[in-house]
Each structure stands twice: as structure tokens, then as C-alpha cells.
């Protein structure tokens, strides 16, 4: 080790002195890894085969807390980053492109495979298991004894879209979300644009405010996305009577309230009633619900991850941390954010419309 390094007494928990190269020692990786480990362990203890064990829930939060501590150390080291050390590619063919930008693109490649695998699962089950509506219309579910009395459920695929696309109101949260994400992709680009304006062309205070506001709006839009998603999954909402528009007062049930659940092995939809006997078709839809919740949920987790990142970035923007020298970090986040947006553009038709 050269004396050069020793003079600087690099701290392993932040803020880093970025003026002489790559990050120094950091506690963050170790602590964050342990946080993830504790989290996964305790989550598995809190639920076992679908049985809830409340005693472990605080420990789940311990896991999350430890991960957060690691993340904060990481951020603390990054706060001082002012673009001094933005490593550039040395070799052809990427010469003079920022290295971290290449890394983000590589990362998105694996993200692509993650969603590909989820979609493969979906397609396997969607095409491999008979649709519940088809089964009902064929009408032989009665004769085969799939009735309430026998308590036996018929395995079939009930797409979430059957419920969601059933009314304009039901699909509203998803549709609004689509726009929220698209607009947020726009605001993040605006933040980048303002951060990138060359020194001297604008007042630095104006830059600080603009970047902060655009990142803040992106943050808010992402929050709206998750809130609406929770509304659609668990909460449901109320539609008031508006006579002029011909809207009648009614309740939009959440998917949860509709019984569209991962463990719904005795699901019955209000449409599937035999007019003559009044018997209801019982369906085991747990596979279709699993694919729906896990795929849209994985996307939701990506949005949540984005929110965590945006929280830090908005804070850094508020301190005036983004200047043309290091505006590119907004661009890197933007690449990820556009990807999350694009995935939604696929998830939405596949799960909400089809």
C-alpha cells in the first residue's frame, strides 16, 4: 500500500474522500448482506407453509433494519460524491463511456431474464390450465360433481383480468398507474436535463430547486403507484353517486375481497352459478392467483426499490448535490426507472387485459 493512501485515513463508514480514486473500505457490504440473511430467515420463520407466526415479525424488521443501516452507510459514502471520480472506459469499443453506465445496462440484462422467467411461468400455466370461464360455459362441471355439496374444487385458470377488466372502475387503478409511471419517466428525464445544464447558464439555486422538484415528483408518482396497487389488491374503494355522468353509487371490491387469493382453492365467482339449480362452481385458482401476485408483486418490489433510491437522490438533490459533473447518476437511475416502466407496459396487458 502506498503512503498516499495512509495519509487520507479513509473511513470505512463514510463519507468517502473521492478525490483519489475508487471507494475505500466500507462496512456496508458486510452489514447489508447480514441484514438480507436475517430478513429471509425470519420471514420464513414468521410464515411456515402459509401459517402465520406473529412472534417472529419484529425479527423480520430487525433484518430490514440491519439492511437499512448497511444502505445508509453506503449512501453516506456516496453523499460526498461530486463527480471527481467518474471512471471512464479505457478499452475499445466503449472508450470514454462512463463505466457505471455500462454496468447499469449489464444489470438490466439480468433484470430482463428475471421477468422473462416470470412470464414463462405465466405462459406455461395460462396456456396449460383450462380457463375457468371455458369450463363454466362448457357446463359439464355440474355433472362431474363439482358442486358446493361435494366440496371438491375444479382446477382451472382464472385470469385476474376477468375480475379487473369487468368494469371501468375496477381497471382504473391499474390504468392510472400506467400513466403515473409514464409521467414519472418524463419527470426523471427533466431532473437530468436541469442537472446537466452547463455551469454559468443557470443560477445554481434554480438548478437545485428544479432538480429537487423533479426528483420529488418522480418520488410522489412512484408512491402513488404503490398506493393504488395496494388499493386494488387489498383495500378497494368507493364510487359516489354522480347523476350527471350516470354514475351510480357502488363499492369496488379489492381483489382480496373478491377472494382472488393465492390460497383460493375453493374460489367461487358470482357469475358461475347454475341458473336452474343455484349451484355454484367451485374452482381452485391458487395457481393463477400466485402467478398474478408474484409477477405484479415483483414489479411492485422494483418500484419500491426505486422509491428507496429516489428517497436518497431527492435528499441529495435538496442539499444541492447534483451538478453537471455528476448528473449522470440521475441518468443511471433513469435507465433503471425506464426499464421498470417498460416492464409495466408488458405486465399491464398480460395480466390486466388478457
Amino acid at each position: 500500500m502506498s503512503d498516499h493512501d495512509e495519509h487520507h485515513h479513509p473511513s470505512a463508514w463514510g463519507p468517502h474522500d473521492w478525490t483519489h480514486g475508487a471507494p475505500h473500505n466500507s462496512w456496508s457490504p458486510l452489514i447489508m448482506s447480514m441484514g438480507f440473511g436475517i430478513f429471509l430467515f425470519m420471514l420464513a420463520e414468521a410464515f411456515t407453509n402459509g401459517v402465520f407466526n406473529a412472534g417472529y415479525v419484529p425479527l423480520v424488521f430487525v433484518g430490514l433494519f440491519v439492511s437499512l443501516v448497511g444502505l445508509i452507510i453506503w449512501w453516506r459514502q456516496d453523499m460526498s460524491f461530486d463527480g471527481t471520480y467518474e471512471p471512464m472506459a479505457t478499452g475499445a469499443p466503449f472508450k470514454n463511456i462512463q463505466i457505471r453506465k455500462v454496468a447499469i445496462w449489464v444489470f438490466l440484462m439480468s433484470e430482463m431474464m428475471v421477468f422473462t422467467s416470470l412470464f414463462s411461468t405465466y405462459i406455461r400455466y395460462r396456456t396449460g390450465i383450462e380457463n375457468c370461464q371455458t369450463v363454466f360455459e362448457r357446463g359439464d362441471w355440474m355433472q362431474q360433481g363439482y358442486t358446493l355439496e361435494t366440496g371438491e374444487a375444479l382446477i382451472c385458470f382464472e385470469p385476474a383480468s376477468h375480475l379487473i377488466a369487468s368494469s371501468m372502475w375496477h381497471i382504473a387503478p391499474g390504468a392510472i398507474n400506467t400513466f403515473a409511471l409514464i409521467i414519472s419517466s418524463f419527470t426523471i428525464v427533466q431532473a437530468l436535463r436541469w442537472a446537466k445544464k452547463p455551469f454559468g447558464t443557470i443560477d445554481e439555486e434554480v438548478r437545485r430547486k428544479r432538480v429537487f422538484r423533479y426528483l420529488g415528483s418522480t418520488w410522489i408518482l412512484a408512491i402513488i403507484f404503490l398506493i393504488l396497487k395496494m388499493t386494488e389488491w387489498f383495500i378497494g374503494f368507493y364510487v359516489p353517486e354522480i347523476e350527471i355522468l350516470g354514475i351510480h353509487e357502488h363499492h369496488i371490491h379489492s381483489l382480496y375481497a373478491e377472494g382472488y387469493l393465492i390460497n383460493a382453492d375453493h374460489y367461487h365467482h358470482h357469475d358461475w352459478v347454475d341458473e336452474a339449480t343455484g349451484a355454484t362452481m367451485l374452482a381452485d385458482i391458487s395457481v393463477s392467483a400466485s402467478t398474478f401476485y408474484v409477477t405484479t408483486g415483483t414489479h411492485g418490489v422494483h418500484v419500491a426499490g426505486g422509491i428507496i433510491g429516489l428517497t436518497y437522490m431527492t435528499f441529495k438533490a435538496w442539499t444541492g448535490g447534483y451538478t453537471p459533473k455528476n448528473a449522470v447518476s440521475i441518468e443511471y437511475f433513469g435507465l433503471y426507472w425506464h426499464f421498470v416502466d417498460l416492464v409495466w407496459v408488458l405486465v399491464f396487458p398480460f395480466f390486466y387485459l388478457y
Binding site: S2, N25, S26, M34
Partner: protein, 791 residues
């Protein structure tokens, strides 16, 4: 005390605490932990043992007669029990061998070796049961727990307040005196703990050796903290090597226990249940916790050095990749020590993996694997980026050293395939945790989907572990033969070809799953296609030696050994794509022989070769050649002694993943103890017993032969000869810097820019000192464009 010291001190303590926290899941599963009723006792009332309760167990002989039935009287005195109470007491009796049966309604049976009182039996202080002694020689242990109850069951306190309990343990011996049989869990735990303590001791010793004067906490804490927080690619590489070798040892210990079980037909050292966990953990450990970290160790160390980069592209992320591994490892091992570890095989096939019958440790195994997937993804990002963008000016794709190429190809394969495994794991995790139905066949889930996701990753994965070995061998053979590698370009295309083809062959793992015959045929052809690029590589290596003059060093020997064993593994591999053969060989020891020839004879030998080759560069100390040759000879011979006979056993039909086997002259007893003398279905020819014994002996010898390497490394670290910058006459960038290399590895960073990074021209300069064909080759191939160098 200055601030730095306080901080590093607190943080080391903090880390120890956190590590402890992560390790608790494993610790609570120690034999004295949650091992079940036998150890934790019955659902004991009251918090503490009470001496006033005196349990008794009467009717036991000192030595039992085979299969005789004994009537046992269980009783206790003392404690709050009183005939006036609603309830008086309860018990739980566990026996290590034979079966216990209740003799009246006051006792119920949990399983053949465990009984307890019933509700009706709650109002008594004595009970009777019957014990059938085992039909063979055993030292039998009885463990009795009794509760003395004060009868406040109906009260608000919930009934157990004020109750007292005690425990009684009795051992009786068999008619013929036998040695006590070891408990495999105790053996495993002890060995792991001993290895870990040894590792820590050696590390502390090395710290002491560095500077005997400053051997105190004041210096120790910052030193440890420095390692725990490092982001330097060389130090992280060393950490990977440490972790990798440690787990290679642990996996080896499990392999030895497996082999002890298989030493003789019908052995009962491990039960079927224990055996399942041992081979699951053996496979998982070896692939994910030994082979992959060792490869990452070599890659971390060498890739930046070979391409002339100061460090990896994202150093902190690199540290993250590493630290996810030990945490994942702790989760993977959860439950193993108490008999509740994962028992699914390293492939974790559905639907068993999501069933409740699979051990609870399976969930943690899945969780640990998820962390390893995250780790591999981060590693992939780092290496792909580094290799793509941080090559020294002038070094084009086709001038990259072959080891770097191999890491590029391996990471590309891993990176594109592991997300499928990750998603599969998350699905399984959710199935096991919150109760989704992805692999629940009763709800229409398709277990084969898991096989698809797994093998879509799994097949590229086996190439991920072998391709870096190819890279190492290419470097070593070229250096040792004193010439450039023959057919550099075809080497690169062969590796890339393997990378592409490996994505379209995974169906060969599912031939027997009822696959469409047309697809089987297609997969058969694509699988056979893999042999083409692999063959090209082998012939190129041979041709490299043909044109050169071989210098025999330890690493040369390992490379030659690799050529033999890997080729044999490749040949046995060619039997499987052929459908008719695969149907016979599937799940037999022929498969075990094959994948060990490629994994041990390929990956592990390749890595050993790399260790001998690069150790002087990494540590600045030379290894002892004599010990090296001794290691090679012993390991090579015993290794072949283990796995060569397995081919024959496999052809005879010895089944893989089975805890025992029979030979055709074995007496086999039926349910009622009558002797069935005819050959059991699937019994092996009598010679199989001898071969299995032979294999086990060799396995133990192989295990110990590797201590020669460890001894060699430790001796050299403590008092090895100093290594020059280029001890073997290698010519890639890593041989340009000092041994060990400085930090940053190349250049220096000033005013927001890197200065003095090497260019390919520097490497050529270095080679120019080499009189031979090499110089000519370089002048033809590796001289960079003038402008590029100037930039």
C-alpha cells in the same frame, strides 16, 4: 485512544455480534438445541429442572436378549403431584433402538421409539409400556422425562405454573459388547467447529508473524476491520479463496461420511434420512460454496491484473458479492446439525421441495440459495463490465489472455441463466413460506416447470465451473511449453461456442421425465455438439505442447493431470446424450463418476493448478515444489481410485442418492425377521462390496492428501522464498507488476484521472525479452494500433 481505533474496535465487536445473529439459526440446530423431544425433553412444565422430582424406569435388563419383549415401569416421586390434584403428572420416553409400545390407554405412541402419556394417563404417577429389544447388537439409550403436576390446568395461569420436571437417562448394553457408534451429526459438527477454529488460529498466527511486536488488540482490530471492509479486488479475492477452501474441506468431510456409510453393503452409520441431508449438503457446498468462490477468487485476483486495470469496475459491489456468500452459507446449513437440514438433493426437485414432508431446513436452504444468486448476479455485472471497458489501451478482444476470456464467457453464461434459477427459488420460497401454489400439483402446479427453470440454469452452470478451469489450463500450458497457445482464436471461438450451445442442451437432464421424443432427439444432437468445441480445446492444448518445450513445474503436472481426467470425464459424458444409454445410466453411479471426473478432475484440478501457478504472484512467496509434486501424485492416484471404479458400479446398476446397497449373497430379512436368501431385486454382484471398500479407502486418502497443499501454503507464507515478479516466464500483464502487486494494481489516480495505466505495448516490451517463437507471435498478433496506444 484515537478515533480510528475506537471506531474499528466497536465495529469489529458489532460485526462479531451480527455474525452471531446470522449464525443463530445454525446454532439453535446444534445437537443440544431443537433436535426434538429426545434432547429438549417432553413439553416440560415449569422453566427449570427440579431435583425434587425423581423419575424411575424399572424392568430393564443390564444386557438385553435379541428381540425379547420387556415390560417397563415408569414412575416418579416428589414435586407438587398429589392424588388430590385434578392431574398429577406426565412423561415422555425415548429410546435409541428397538420399539416401545403402549400397553394400555394411559400411554400413546408418537413413533416406534417414542411414547408419552395420554389425557387419560394424566392423573397417574406411574405407567407401563413394552419395549421390544433390537435384533442386533446395540448400546441402547433410554431418555425419560417426567412432569410432576400441581393440577391447576384449568386456572388462568395456563396450567404449567408451579409444575416441576426432571430427566433420567439410562444406557443398557447388547449381548455382545460393541464399540459405541458415533453420531454422524456430532462428528460433522465437531469437525466443522474444529476446522473453523483452525482457520481462525492460522489467520491469527499469520497476523502475528507479520509483525510479532504489534500483536495486540490495538493493532488486531484495525487489521480485522480492514479485511472485513476491504474493497480491493486482491483482498476480496483472497477472502474468496479462504471461504472456498474452507467449504471444500467441509464438503469433503461430508463426502467422507457418505463414503463411510457406503463402505460395506447394508451399513447403518447414516440413516436414510441423514444420508439424504448429507448428499444434499455435499453437492450444494461443493458447487456453490467451494467451486464457485474458488473460481471467483482466481477471477478477482487475476482479471484486473491480466487486463491492466487498477481494480474491478465496481469495487464496493464486489465486496457485497463476497459477503452475501458466507451469510448464504449459514442459511444453507441451517438445521443440518439437528437432522432437519435440506434433504432435496442439490437440484431441489419439485414437488418434494415444496412439500411439508421435506425438512424444514429446506426453506432456509432456498433462502441461502437466493442470496447466492444475488451474489452471482452482482459478480456478473462487475466482471462483464470490467472486461468490456477496462482493458488496457491497445488490448482488443482478441488480445485478451485466455483466462480473462474464460471468465468473460463463464460470467456471461451465468448472468443470463441464473435469473431463471433465482425466480424459481423465489417461487419455491413463497410456496414454502406464504403458501403460493406454483409447484403444488394438487392445485394444478407443474413440478416439471421447476426442472426447466433449474436446468436452464443448471446446465450452463456446469460450464460456468469448468470454463474458468479451461482458461487456467490454457495459461499454464502455454507458459510451461514456452510458447504461445496453439490456435488462440479457435480457443476463443470454442469457449464462446460452448457458451452458446450450453443454453440449448439442458433437456438432456430431463430425458427420463416423459419428454417429447422429437425434442429428445433434438437435445441429443445439440448435446453431442458440445463435444466439438471441447474437443477443439483439448487438441489445441496438445498441439501447444507439441510445438513447445515443456518445463515441468507443479502447475504443469496439474495441467497434464487435468488433460487426462477431464478428457475421461468428457468421454463418459458422451454416453448420456445417447438416449438408450441414458435410460440405463440415469441416476446410477455412472453419473456420479462422470460429474466427478469433470468437477473434481476438471474444475478442482484446474483450480489447484491455478493456485500453484499464481500463488507466488498473490503472496510474493514461492511454494515448495517437492511438496507440490507429492500433492499431485497422491491426489491424482487416489482421486482416480475413488471415481474410476464408480463407472463399473454404475453399469452394474448401483443407484445414486441411495443410502445403501445390497449384494446378491446378502441375507435379507423380511418384515417378520424371516430370512430371504434369494437375491434382492437390484442387488449388485458380490464384487461390488470390495470395490466400494476400495473407493472409501481412496476417498479418505484423497481427503488427507490435500492437507499437503494447505501445509505447503502455510509453510511458504511463514518462511517461503521470496518470489520474483515473473517466476515462470509468463507474459500477460499480471507478470509485469510486483509480487505481490501494489494497490491500486496499476497506475495512479490524480486530479480526477488515471495516470500511467499500462498499455499493450508495455506487455509486448516485456515479451521482447523472450527469445523464442513467442516474440514472433506477439509481433504478429498483439501489437496494438499506434493511435490507440497514444490515446
Amino acid at each position: 485512544m484515537n478515533r480510528e481505533k475506537i471506531i474499528s474496535r466497536t465495529l469489529v465487536i458489532f460485526t462479531v455480534l451480527l455474525l452471531g445473529m446470522v449464525a443463530v439459526p445454525s446454532a439453535t440446530s446444534l445437537p443440544t438445541g431443537v433436535a426434538g423431544v429426545k434432547d429438549s425433553g417432553c413439553n416440560c412444565h415449569g422453566a427449570v429442572v427440579s431435583d425434587s422430582v425423581i423419575p424411575t424406569l424399572e424392568g430393564l435388563p443390564e444386557t438385553y436378549n435379541y428381540s425379547e419383549i420387556y415390560t417397563l415401569n415408569i414412575a416418579f416421586t416428589g414435586g407438587p403431584a398429589d392424588p388430590a390434584n385434578i392431574n398429577q403428572g406426565g412423561f415422555n420416553l425415548w429410546v435409541s433402538d428397538g420399539t416401545i409400545t403402549p400397553s394400555d390407554a394411559s400411554v400413546q405412541s408418537w413413533n416406534p421409539n417414542e411414547v408419552s402419556h395420554t389425557d387419560a394417563g394424566n392423573d397417574q404417577t406411574s405407567w407401563t409400556v413394552e419395549w421390544t429389544a433390537p435384533a442386533n447388537d446395540r448400546n441402547v439409550q433410554f431418555i425419560l422425562h417426567t412432569n410432576s403436576v400441581n393440577g391447576n390446568a384449568g386456572s388462568a395461569e395456563g396450567g404449567t405454573i408451579g409444575d416441576e420436571w426432571n430427566r433420567l437417562s439410562i444406557q443398557i448394553s447388547s449381548p455382545v459388547v460393541i464399540l459405541e457408534q458415533a453420531n454422524p451429526y456430532t462428528v460433522l459438527t465437531t469437525l466443522i467447529v474444529v476446522s473453523f477454529v483452525l482457520l481462525l488460529t492460522v489467520l491469527t498466527f499469520i497476523f502475528y508473524q507479520n509483525n510479532p511486536e504489534s500483536f495486540d488488540w490495538e493493532h488486531f482490530a484495525p487489521w480485522v476491520a480492514g479485511w472485513l471492509t476491504t474493497t480491493d479486488h486482491k483482498r476480496v479475492g483472497t477472502l474468496y479463496f479462504l471461504a472456498g477452501f474452507f467449504f471444500l474441506g467441509i464438503g469433503g468431510i461430508m463426502a467422507i461420511l457418505i463414503r463411510i456409510q457406503l463402505m460395506v453393503p447394508g451399513n447403518d452409520f447414516l440413516t436414510q434420512d441423514q444420508y439424504n441431508q448429507f448428499f444434499t449438503l455435499h453437492g450444494t457446498t461443493m458447487i456453490f460454496l467451494a467451486a464457485m468462490p474458488l473460481i471467483n477468487g482466481a477471477a478477482n485476483w487475476m482479471v484486473p491484473l491480466q487486463i491492466g486495470a487498477p481494480d474491478l469496475a465496481l469495487p464496493r459491489l464486489n465486496a457485497m458479492s463476497f459477503w452475501l456468500q458466507p451469510v448464504g452459507a449459514v442459511l444453507i446449513f441451517t438445521g443440518v446439525f439437528s437432522g432437519t437440514g435440506a434433504d432435496t438433493g442439490w437440484t431441489g426437485y419439485a414437488p418434494y421441495i415444496v412439500s411439508e414432508t421435506a425438512h424444514v431446513g429446506t426453506t432456509m436452504w432456498v433462502a441461502g440459495q437466493i442470496l447466492l444468486v444475488a451474489s452471482s448476479t452482482l459478480t456478473g455485472i462487475n466482471f462483464l463490465t470490467t472486461i468490456a471497458v477496462m482493458r488496457a489501451p491497445g488490448m482488443g478482444w482478441m488480445q485478451m489472455p485466455l483466462f480473462t476470456w474464460s471468465i468473460l464467457v463463464a460470467n456471461l453464461m451465468l448472468f443470463l441463466s441464473i435469473p431463471a434459477f433465482g425466480v424459481g427459488l423465489i417461487q419455491v420460497y413463497l410456496d414454502r413460506v406464504i403458501g403460493t401454489a406454483f409447484y403444488d400439483a394438487a392445485s394444478g402446479g407443474d413440478p416439471l416447470l421447476w426442472s426447466h427453470l433449474f436446468w436452464y440454469f443448471g446446465h450452463p452452470e456446469v460450464y460456468v465451473v469448468i470454463v474458468p478451469a479451461f482458461g487456467i489450463i490454457s495459461e499454464v500450458i502455454a507458459t510451461s511449453a514456452r510458447r504461445s497457445v496453439f490456435g488462440y482464436r479457435s480457443m476463443v471461438y470454442a469457449m464462446a461456442g460452448i457458451g452458446v450451445v450450453s443454453f440449448i442442451v439442458y433437456g438432456h437432464h430431463m430425458f427420463t421425465s416423459g419428454m417429447d421424443p422429437t425434442l429428445r432427439f433434438v437435445t441429443m444432437l445439440t448435446t453431442m455438439l458440445v463435444a466439438v468445441p471441447t474437443g477443439i480445446k483439448i487438441f489445441n492444448w496438445l498441439m501447444t505442447m507439441n510445438g513447445g518445450s515443456l518445463v515441468y513445474r507443479t502447475h504443469t503436472l496439474w495441467a497434464l493431470g487435468f488433460l487426462v481426467t477431464f478428457t475421461l470425464g468428457g468421454i463418459s459424458g458422451m454416453f448420456f446424450p445417447s438416449m438408450a444409454m441414458d435410460l440405463h445410466f440415469h441416476e446410477s453411479y455412472f453419473v456420479v463418476a462422470h460429474f466427478h471426473y469433470v468437477l473434481v478432475g476438471g474444475t478442482v484440478f484446474g483450480l489447484f493448478c491455478g493456485v500453484y501457478y499464481w500463488f507466488p504472484k498473490m503472496s510474493g512467496k514461492m511454494l515448495n515444489e517437492k511438496l507440490g509434486v507429492l500433492h499431485f501424485l497422491t491426489a491424482f492416484v487416489t482421486y482416480n481410485g475413488i471415481f474410476w471404479p464408480m463407472h463399473r458400479l454404475g453399469v452394474w446398476g448401483m443407484a445414486r442418492r441411495h443410502h445403501t446397497y445390497f449384494i446378491s449373497v446378502d441375507e435379507v430379512r423380511g418384515v417378520d425377521g424371516e430370512i430371504i436368501t434369494e437375491a434382492v431385486l437390484g442387488a449388485l454382484p458380490p464384487e461390488a462390496a470390495g470395490w466400494n471398500m476400495f473407493i472409501t479407502v481412496n476417498a479418505i486418502l484423497f481427503f488427507f492428501s490435500n492437507f499437503i497443499l494447505i501445509a505447503n501454503v502455510v509453510i511458504s507464507l511463514v518462511r517461503g522464498e521470496k518470489a520474483p515478479a515473473d517466476p515462470w516466464g509468463g507474459w500477460s500483464f499480471e507478470w509485469l507488476t510486483d509480487s505481490p502487486p501494489p494497490t491500486p494494481s496499476f497506475g495512479r489516480f490524480e486530479n480526477g484521472e488515471w495516470h500511467d495505466l499500462p498499455t499493450l505495448a508495455d506487455a509486448n516490451e516485456h515479451v521482447a525479452h523472450e527469445p523464442s517463437r513467442l516474440g514472433i507471435w506477439f509481433s504478429k498478433l498483439m501489437v496494438a494500433d499506434k493511435e490507440e496506444v497514444e490515446n
